[in-house]
Symmetry: C2
Subunit: 126 residues, 2 copies
DNA sequence: ATATTTACTGCAACTAAGTTGCGTTAAACG
DNA sequence: CGTTTAACGCAACTTAGTTGCAGTAAATAT
């Protein structure tokens, strides 16, 4: 089930995602907000915001959880599937609008594709 | 550094990968071999076999580590990059020979691509 | 404005994958 | 067989994420 009460903690977390468009890891949020709320609360709210279709989650290069804003999803439908890019220098992660074509795999039916590209971002290029 | 001594434990682990062509998770190996060797030993040997270019590793859907045989890699060069497929019914994971084209991403340089497809495998199809 | 209801929160304890340090064992080799 | 040291087992640790429960504060009713 999603968010039912707009508590202080929910507002603080929503603000974090409003302020920047890149993805944020759960670990970063815990570190950044540890004076304002408990890590349990953070995990629980992120989970609910995902149910609501406001955030989507994915795993970064170490298998740790990252969250980013959805665009046009709802609690009924998460159609927001796309590749992600993690910079190996600064660690920043972004959603990519790029569409990557998955060819048909013989004898298998693909339902989900999880694509994480790693390399160098624009800011770290120079 | 890779394997220097062909110990009993190393032989047992090599056998596991000789017997089947699908990928095996570290967790599965620990469970399967816990009477024969310690989990620390398993992690250390897998790590060395990867250094040697005999195995390659990747993360499955929960961010847990999986290993599979390489074909034609060496300790100098791991050129064995390809997508993986995890069956959502039986959990089995395979290496895919399929090549997936990663388009150029504006303002970013892609070094590595990590692709995990999820769906239904042949055996679970019926 | 106050009372009631219950979703949400904080805390402490837990789970589980993977790592580290160290004393002991057993490959490799002369 | 004896020596060397890579590799092993064990216990303790690290860390991301989860769970149970008692207390708190939103939302709603009175
Ligand atoms: Mn995204
Ligand atoms: Mn593979
Ligand atoms: Zn960067
Ligand atoms: Zn299957």
């Amino acid at each position: 089930m999603g968010i039912l009460r707009k508590t202080k903690s929910v507002k603080i977390l929503l603000d974090e995602f409003e302020e920047q468009s890149t993805a944020i890891s759960a670990i970063t949020l815990i570190e950044r907000l540890h004076l304002k709320m408990n890590k349990t609360t953070i995990y629980r709210i992120l989970d609910k915001l995902e149910d609501d279709g406001f955030l989507h989650s994915f795993l970064g290069k170490n298998g740790h959880k990252w969250y980013a804003k959805c665009s046009g999803c709802s609690s009924e439908e998460h159609h927001d599937i796309h590749p992600h890019f993690q910079c190996l220098d600064c660690g920043k992660v972004d959603c990519l609008p790029t569409d990557i074509l998955i060819p048909d795999i013989p004898n298998r039916k693909v339902h989900v594709s999880q694509i994480l590209l790693q390399g160098t971002c624009e800011a770290c290029f120079n």
